[in-house]
């Protein structure tokens, strides 16, 4: 894949600037960068250590991984020998002591996303994620441009630069791109990508090269289940959306026979995993799961099989196009069961292809685009003005993720390990346009997720509380510290 020319978002004010070394008596954090006492203390600690020491950063500790209700826990009747992901990973290497370089003219941040059409590994034909990737790029670019309008990297008064590359998806090319970011472009952090197989490749490379990867578009739960201290994500994942959908289907609606139809790629395979497991653990195992190859037009084989088992509800996990075609084919043969699907259906493409059948469709959704958040309204306005289009999920989360990276760079300075530390130890939720983003111990977005329902000609977004969806009991203590089968903790 030919690398794209770096896309500079530099206003005219920077054109004549030369790199400036920070004066010795400058404040810890440049004026204008919001920082609370906790982050300031973290900064002092990480600035104080040499290459052989690791500061005490008061690592997060969760008591329940991913806020998992006790009745959704795997092997719930057995106390496991070990629980992972409860304690935050620390970076134990020497990177914090690397001095900020002097010969820097722009502060580069890498962007990797599916922005150009290519051959898809999943379909064997045309790729299918460009519409999402382009929105993601727009959100990231807007954040960069706005940061530069505020003065760029404030310590040096030099601009941020977005180094953009396409996520080709073939033969693990995302790994090569991360290597280029780390060793050729010398980026300070990376944002991307959407396809989970490519995301996994990217973070393994970033781990070795020691650079932060902020994910804003991959909802695969296993993305952060890797113990990589350099990996973080600012979008709700399929585990959280799956829990909410199962709570809705079983705890609220009391559906007894759940059928699944999903894409055969990694997105579909891992997307439904928590739904299947949670339904089984509630005593309502999924009655059928049918996989399909992407890009097909006829799903009658899968639908025939599903019809045979007479489901109460049908869950789809895949892209917008397939969601719409399958929905249409279900309805056209008289199957009227409720249709739940993944968040990718919340798109213009789905509505166009599904037509009138879209009415009543429910999708898990990682945020609430209808919220009264003034930051969101202002973002929308600026986005429309800049791109003459509406921002979507991918644009909004990329905007948030890029702003988090920019903030961390402003606070930490040009040092990859310190940038990681500042983001990883942030206590206050990030005030994003997509809502407040609190990190879990594994640096995943632990914020609320929603159900999107298409009704009255538009998508409406409902929280758990809005729909009064019951949830299982989330115990305050980790499993290895709990008694077995304590009735108070299993109800």
């Amino acid at each position: 894949m030919k690398r794209l020319l770096p896309l500079l978002a530099i206003s005219v004010m920077f054109a004549a600037d030369t790199p400036k070394k920070a004066p010795a008596n400058e404040p810890l954090v440049p004026p204008g960068v919001e920082v609370d006492e906790h982050t300031l203390e973290v900064l002092k600690r990480i600035l104080a250590v040499g290459p052989y020491e690791v500061p005490d950063l008061q690592l997060r500790r969760d008591t329940a991984y991913a806020k998992t209700p006790v009745d959704y826990e795997p092997y719930g009747k057995i106390k496991p020998y070990k629980e992972h992901f409860l304690e935050q990973m620390q970076y134990w290497g020497p990177g914090r002591a690397i001095p900020e370089p002097e010969d820097v003219r722009t502060v580069k941040i890498g962007f990797i996303g599916p922005i150009m059409s290519t051959v898809s590994v999943a379909t064997g034909g045309a790729s299918h994620e460009e519409s999402m990737g382009i929105k993601m790029l727009q959100g990231a670019r807007l954040a960069i441009e706005e940061a530069n309008a505020r003065g760029g990297y404030l310590r040096r008064k030099i601009p941020f630069e977005l180094v953009v590359t396409n996520d080709n998806g073939l033969w693990g090319s995302s790994g090569n791109e991360i290597v280029n970011f780390a060793y050729k472009d010398h980026v300070w952090a990376i944002l991307g990508t959407i396809d989970s197989a490519n995301s996994h490749i990217a973070i393994r490379v970033a781990l070795k090269a020691e650079v932060v990867v902020m994910n804003t578009g991959d909802t695969d739960p296993t993305y952060i289940e890797t113990n990589i201290p350099w990996t973080m994500r600012c979008i709700g994942d399929d585990r959280q959306m799956g829990y909410l959908m199962v709570d809705y289907m079983i705890r609220k609606m009391d559906y007894k026979r759940i059928a699944i139809i999903r894409s055969s790629n990694r997105y579909g395979r891992f997307g439904v995993r928590e739904i299947k497991d949670s339904a089984r653990r509630l005593g309502r195992p999924v009655v059928i799961e049918m996989a399909y190859q992407l890009g097909k037009d006829d799903y009658s084989l899968q639908i025939d099989r599903i019809a045979e088992v007479r489901p109460d509800v049908i869950v789809h996990w895949g892209d917008a196009r397939e969601a719409a075609i399958i929905l249409r084919q279900l309805r056209e043969r008289g199957m009227t069961q409720p249709f739940l699907t993944s968040d990718r259906a919340v798109s213009k493409e789905f509505l166009k292809l599904a037509g009138p059948y879209a009415d009543g469709v429910i999708a898990g959704y990682p945020w609430n685009p209808d919220s009264n958040n003034p930051r969101l309204a202002e973002f929308r306005e600026r986005f429309r003005k800049r791109f003459n289009d509406e921002p979507d999920t991918y644009a909004a989360h990329a905007y948030d993720g890029m702003n988090m990276l920019i903030w961390a760079i402003q606070v930490a300075g040009l040092n990859r390990a310190r940038i990681r530390d500042i983001l990883a130890t942030r206590v206050k939720p990030w005030p994003g346009v997509t809502g407040d983003i609190p990190f879990s111990a594994v640096l995943d977005d632990a914020g609320e997720v929603y159900l999107a329902k298409f009704e009255g000609g538009r998508w409406r977004y409902y929280s758990r509380e809005d729909l009064q969806i019951p949830r299982g009991y989330i115990p305050p203590r980790e499993r290895t510290a709990r008694g077995l089968m304590n009735p108070a903790e299993t109800r």
Binding site: Y52, K82, W92, G93, P94, G175, Y183, I201, T226
Partner: protein, 384 residues
């Protein structure tokens, strides 16, 4: 001396030794260390790979390859991109025992061979190498295996034939290969998300080792199988498979599995970048908080080596399960506690850290446990 009298004397002496306070069965502890950094001629302090090769030590760094002569303990040659090294970051090294060729895994640069002073280079665009991000390399007879981020590749150096192994033709649930090792007719791939895959060269057959509980967030039982599907290294020695991961470590003797965590062993951390096994009873783990060596698998006896972050000193802690048997303070041992690579020969150990290389000199090394008095703390201060 009459046989009976000799036997009596032996028993008496033996009893006296056994009764000596502080004498018990303990593992060998490395107290003599050398360190190598950029100041000593390495091209970079960030060590990704190390390989002991007779009188030579090959060192792969984030920015070049180095050769150390064991006899003189000097860095005798360095290769960077300016010197023809095809790519700066060297993440794996193996040496062909028949030809002496040095094979290099290049992190984003493909595969290289140093032979006769010349580098040959294979990458995605000129060969059957499946991806240029190569984490590990292993020589198997006439074949060279490369563990890449998008599958494994096998190159036959005689016929020039390449074979690619992915989910299409091997039991890889995921294709993200991390480590590769060959010994005794078996190739082992440590695959991120797919446990360990074993390839029997003679039988041309694959076997997979997966976490039996199938869950990412827990290990249900410690000894029920491989501890996690995310693995970083696998070594097969004496019919024993050793595995490292970011979630602990484990050992399989062909019949029983045993898991190791920081909470129940001398493993310094559950985050392990790699490992090297010396035998079926002894293996060395490259963790992010120090170097952990299980010296006697049968008794779960470990030695954990760490550097004091505030001084040029280090220590070794001997543990059985989680009980400390002995603490040996010494001069500087490891240049840094973040360990990335490790190799051993019959006597010595070579440790690649994020800030330099350590060479542990095993004078008087013995395998397993031996009855010896405990070493007094701070009595051994062998410094470079």
């Amino acid at each position: 001396m009459k046989p009976f009298a000799a036997c009596l004397l032996f028993i008496t002496l033996g009893s006296a030794l056994a009764a000596e306070p502080g004498a018990e069965k303990l593992p060998y502890v490395y107290t003599k260390w050398k360190q190598f950094t950029v100041k000593d001629g390495l091209p970079d302090d960030h060590i990704f790979a190390v390989k002991s090769d007779g009188d030579r030590i090959w060192v792969g760094t984030e920015n070049g390859l180095a050769l150390i002569d064991k006899k003189t303990a000097k860095v005798v040659k360095v290769w960077t991109e300016k010197d023809g090294l095809p790519w700066r970051a060297v993440t794996g090294i193996d040496v062909d025992p028949k030809t002496g060729d040095v094979w290099l895994a290049l992190f984003g640069g493909g595969l290289a061979r140093l032979s006769g002073g010349r580098f040959d280079h294979w990458h995605q665009l000129n060969s059957g190498l499946v991806n240029d991000v190569v984490y590990g390399v292993a020589v198997e007879n006439d074949n060279v295996w490369a563990a890449t981020t998008a599958g494994a590749s096998r190159y036959n150096t005689v016929t020039g034939e390449w074979t690619i192994f992915t989910e299409k033709n091997a039991p890889m649930e995921e294709i993200w290969n991390y480590g590769v090792h060959y010994r005794d007719g078996k190739v082992h791939l440590a695959v991120w998300g797919s446990g360990v895959l074993e390839y029997d060269v003679k039988e041309n057959r694959w076997k997979d080792y997966l976490d039996p509980d199938g869950e990412m967030e827990i290990d249900l039982y410690r000894d029920d199988g491989i501890i996690h599907v995310i693995t970083t290294g696998a070594n097969y020695v004496d019919g024993v498979l050793w595995v490292s991961s970011y979630f602990g470590a484990c050992r399989y003797d062909g019949r029983n599995w045993r898991g190791y965590y920081n909470m129940d062993s001398g493993l310094p951390s559950d985050f392990n970048n790699n490992l090297r096994a010396r035998s079926g009873r002894e293996a060395w783990f490259a963790s992010d908080k120090g170097l952990g060596a299980i010296m006697d698998a049968e008794t779960n006896t470990w030695v954990a080596y760490t550097r004091d972050p505030k001084s040029d000193s280090g220590k070794a802690v001997v543990m059985r399960d989680k009980t400390v048997l002995e603490t040996v303070e010494m001069g500087l041992n490891l240049p840094h506690n973040f360990i990335i690579a490790v190799d051993v020969d019959d006597r010595d150990v070579f440790v690649g850290t994020a800030k330099g290389l350590a060479w542990g000199i095993g004078e008087g090394y013995y395998s397993g446990l031996r009855e010896r008095p405990r070493m007094l703390a701070a009595t051994r201060r062998d410094v470079k």
